[in-house]
Symmetry: C2
Subunit: 142 residues, 2 copies
DNA sequence: GCTTCAAACAATAATCATTCTAATTTAAAA
DNA sequence: TTTTAAATTAGAATGATTATTGTTTGAAGC
């Protein structure tokens, strides 16, 4: 869990002004699991009455463009946001519509090596994202 | 390129009625590269005047539910459709917004083996889709 | 601490892909 | 040919997202 100071620092370092709305949005992102803009709006509205949904979208777009967070397209067409900006993969359960981050350096090496060997003609790979679709065996708590 | 007969057969075998609209939509899917519903509507309207956009959405949904085609969420949030229903991965160029299918049984085996060894606790993998993000080196023609 | 001003925010209208509704038409089984 | 559930159509409705415009504010410089 990031502190307010850390969050403010990150925002500032990215060249953005530190506002209560932005700090609160990052806190919500940190707290919620792959929330949509709507989820974030609901969460942050409590702290910041009078918050505009448009502001949430603006903030998210700003954070994405500065690569502080990631925007993730989903099966439903609604965009979700990911507090983690470092490279990782995703686990996705279609039934529950739940998404989880999946970090795996060993897998990354495997893929790196594989595509070092096996080039794709005319295409330069910049990033490899694996989507693991399936189902949770046991209940998972939020 | 599938024949009308083949397409009709596929539609019928899936338990759907064979209509001119459906055949034309499948033909368009076959011809275009990962089109959106809008693209398909524009293409098919020529052949079938009076076609309704809603019909295109209905047909696509029906084909997806029968697993004759695939629905692919994209970075922009608009859904694209894939004539290929067999398992495969995707190459995606952010600049041109172009998407291509990527078949690689060797990679599939590699991933299968890897996750046979390395289980993810509490999650049962049903499908693994790799997204290769990057850029085309040379112009690619449609 | 005060001024300044570009950046950020709020309110609200607009957009646009997609879904829904209700009436009509049609594929195909009997 | 008749029948009927399924498919199509037109158009309204939805809902996430974006655009617009006026107001407010963070923070840099005095």
């Amino acid at each position: 869990m990031k502190t307010v100071q850390e969050i403010a620092k990150n925002i500032q370092t990215a060249g953005l002004k530190v506002t209560p709305q932005r700090v609160a949005v990052v806190q919500a992102l940190d707290k919620l699991n792959h929330p949509g803009a709507e989820d974030i709006y609901k969460e942050v509205s409590h702290q910041i009455p009078g918050l505009s949904p448009a502001t949430v979208y603006n903030i998210l777009e700003a954070l994405v463009s500065k690569e502080l967070i990631k925007k993730v397209p989903t099966e439903t067409g609604i965009m979700k946001y990911d507090a983690v900006s470092e490279h990782h993969h995703h686990i996705y359960c279609k039934q529950s519509n739940r998404m989880d981050d999946y970090f795996d350096p060993e897998l990354d090496n495997l893929l790196q090596d594989y595509f070092q060997r096996k080039k794709i003609k005319g295409f330069e790979i910049r990033e490899m994202k694996l989507h693991l679709l399936g189902a949770y065996r046991n209940k998972k708590k939020e």
